[in-house]
């Protein structure tokens, strides 16, 4: 017993020595070569065909251009891995060898805040989260313009819905929107969606339903059935987390409608049956927004301590244009989507946002386009 406790003491001493050495080694990173050293922390594993893979591809492109050198650390995604997330954040911050530490998703802000406050010299970037914007002067929050994304999806859907040459499309210009909760963030998607659809088809109708949670796939499926059977919707956009996929199942089962995914390319993550009826997905491009971020940094524009809200102009959001999109979209539809993108880029179209909108304009619009 005595020996054991002695051993522990020795270990403890060694560890604290090592920790001191680690701290002593922390220096401001050397940036003389002009390449940034970046650490990409993945609170999960690569291969998710979603946010993490997107971030990785953006960083890989930057490295291929010789602009950064990066290391990706996969920290695992379970509850037991969570202590490791904090540990790893501390480790890479203490090492001091990185110009920027990148992490993301709604699961990271608490850990990041704790560590970022202890290392004010270290710079951090967190994507798809705005929990603590402005709390730390060394953290930049990257968020995405859902309304811009919605506009593109709306233009696409509005143009497709009357294209009766495509299987399952009926003559009625009725679209469906299954939202999670009647909240500003979800309505931001909807606002763009309706306006985009109206820009190509002024008489379009949009049937909006909310599942009131993000988990009840079955109720979303019932709403999907109702949209298709009662109101002749032929395209449904699901923006309700997992529940949204219920709408895709309704489209598959009735064989009368199509589905559009959100956030990442859902054709890649669905089973073959569901992927076959998914026309496209609205995208948050984590990778492209990281590239944009380094462009800005090189140009001397930095956003530490702020939120940067990226839309189409920055490449932050977009729409999937290969696979089913390429197969089914007519030349007119493709042209409509491209011109919508161009008009947002040149500023001739500015999509209003439902976030911090208190005028009730969206509610009026939503009711006016009900089928």
């Amino acid at each position: 017993m005595k020996k054991l406790s002695a051993l522990f003491l020795v270990l403890a001493m060694l560890l604290s020595l090592a920790a001191c050495a680690g701290k002593g080694g922390a220096e401001t990173p050397d940036n003389s070569e002009g390449t940034y050293k970046v650490c990409n922390l993945v609170n999960g594993n690569l291969g998710d065909k979603s946010f993490f893979d997107s971030a990785e591809s953006g960083l890989a492109a930057l490295q291929a251009d010789g602009r950064i050198e990066y290391t990706t650390i996969e920290m695992g995604g379970t509850d037991e891995d969570q202590p490791r997330w904090l540990e790893t954040l501390y480790e890479v911050s203490e090492g001091g060898g990185y110009d920027l530490i990148v992490c993301g998703t709604y699961q990271m802000p608490d850990y990041l805040k704790e560590v970022a406050e202890k290392f004010p010299e270290q710079k951090y970037l967190i994507y798809d989260d705005t929990t603590y914007v402005g709390d730390c002067a060394n953290v930049v929050n990257v968020s995405f313009k859902q309304n811009d994304m919605g506009y593109l999806v709306g233009v696409f859907a509005g143009s497709m819905t009357t294209d009766t040459g495509v299987a399952n499309m009926n003559e009625d210009a009725v679209l469906g929107f299954v939202g999670g909760i009647d909240s500003p963030v979800i309505n931001d998607f909807l606002y763009g969606f309706i306006l985009g659809a109206q820009s190509v088809n002024p008489d379009v109708k949009v049937d909006t339903r909310y599942t009131n949670d993000y988990v009840d796939t079955a109720i979303a499926k019932e709403y999907g059935f109702s949209m298709i059977n009662d109101n002749k919707c032929d395209i449904i956009w699901g923006v309700a987390g997992n529940a949204g996929n219920g709408a895709a199942e309704a489209a598959l089962e009735t064989g009368k409608a199509w589905f559009i995914g959100v956030d990442s390319d859902q054709e890649l993550t669905f089973s073959a049956d569901l992927a076959a009826i998914t026309l496209t997905s609205g995208l948050k491009n984590i990778g492209d927004s990281l590239v944009w971020f380094f462009d800005e940094w090189d140009a001397g524009r930095t956003y530490w301590g702020q939120e940067i809200n990226l839309g189409i102009a920055e490449g932050g959001v977009g729409i999937v244009t290969d696979k089913n999109f390429a197969t089914y979209a007519s030349a007119d539809t493709v042209a409509a989507v491209e011109s919508a993108m161009a008009s947002i880029l040149d500023g001739s179209v500015v999509v209003p946002s439902a976030i911090s909108d208190t005028s009730g304009a969206l509610e009026t619009l939503r009711e006016s386009v009900r089928p």
Partner: protein
């Protein structure tokens, strides 16, 4: 208004009532059986969630919905029996065990799915939807003859195998409880365990039988959720149906047939809410309808019971004064 009534009285509305009722009905039967033995199993929600996960995963591994269904049932029974060990042998409060199972049903399934499949990476919400293909889903059955009857055929034919089974099990449960010796013992244990044990009924054994059967029923409900209603398991997908079932059991007076009707009432209320929202009624208003129905139902049930109770009381008095 006329337009709305036309939408309402279409076959797909009644069809959807039966579909929505199915998972609630399975869980309601589970509650009916277990309450008859004097046990409150509030862990039905959790059991359904765990069964839904294993059903979906085993259907994928074995490429067979039968294997998935059997796995869901087995897991349902095992979890229920495990609850029994804690509640009956280790003397834990059965309500606390139920709460624990519900928590495992939510967080534990997420953990398992990560360990087993790695499908949760970087997702705010996890699901096994990518593994579920139509061939491994529980099939829908088109009934010959009945399907040719106009309207009735459209309403009654073409449901999932489990939907028919759910309604058949209402009758089976009634027979089990009222026409068999184990059923009598089970009810006796629920009414008065001391009396039951004095005539040689093993109270512990009957309690295990009851909670095991409730696990079986909840297992069917879970399998329906992930292998028929939705394609694949997703986190928290049972979404309160296990709790609604407890209310349905209470509203139905704890009897199989009455509870079936109250489960149907929930199905009706939800289907009605969905139809309302198709006519432009805000879905925020439509979605609480099932819960409002629960409260009203329980209120009417309580009033009715009080009235009939006092009537019986009066009749009793009259009989005594004669």
């Amino acid at each position: 208004m006329l337009d709305f009534l036309q939408t309402l009285f279409r076959a797909d509305f009644f069809f959807s009532i039966l579909r929505i009722t199915t998972p609630i009905l399975f869980a309601t039967l589970a509650a009916v059986i277990v309450e008859k033995a004097g046990i409150s199993n509030i862990g039905l929600e959790g059991i359904m969630m765990i069964s839904a996960l294993f059903g979906s995963l085993c259907a994928y591994w074995a490429s067979s919905w039968i294997a998935g269904l059997l796995a869901a049932l087995l897991v349902g029974v095992l979890v229920a029996l495990l609850m029994g060990v804690f509640a009956f042998n280790l003397k834990t409060d059965v309500i606390l065990v139920g709460i624990a199972v519900n928590m495992i049903g939510s967080g534990g399934t997420l953990f398992l799915v990560k360990v087993i499949t790695n499908l949760t990476e970087g997702k705010a919400l996890a699901s096994t939807t990518s593994l579920a293909v139509s061939a491994n889903q529980i099939p829908s059955i088109s009934i010959p003859l009945i399907r040719d009857i106009p309207l009735v055929g459209e309403i009654l034919s073409g449901h999932s195998l489990l939907t028919y089974l759910a309604f058949a099990l209402v009758f089976v449960t009634w027979v089990l409880l009222y026409k068999t010796a184990p059923g009598l013992n089970l009810r006796a244990v629920g009414e008065n365990p001391h009396a039951a044990s004095s005539v040689g009924v093993s109270v512990l054994k009957m309690r295990y039988v009851a909670i095991g059967l409730s696990g079986l029923m909840a297992g069917f409900g879970g399998a329906f959720m992930s292998m028929s209603y939705a394609a694949g398991w997703s986190q928290d997908m049972v979404a309160g149906r296990g709790f609604i079932a407890l209310a349905a059991q209470a509203m139905g007076g704890g009897e199989p047939l009455g509870s079936m009707f109250s489960a149907l009432l929930f199905g009706f209320a939800q289907a009605f809410g969905i139809k309302l929202s198709s006519k432009g009624v805000d879905s925020n208003l439509a979605s609480p309808i099932p819960y409002v129905v629960t409260i009203l139902g329980l209120l009417f049930f309580a009033l009715f019971k009080r009235r009939s109770g006092s009537l019986r009381h009066r009749a009793h008095k009259k009989g005594a004064s004669k």
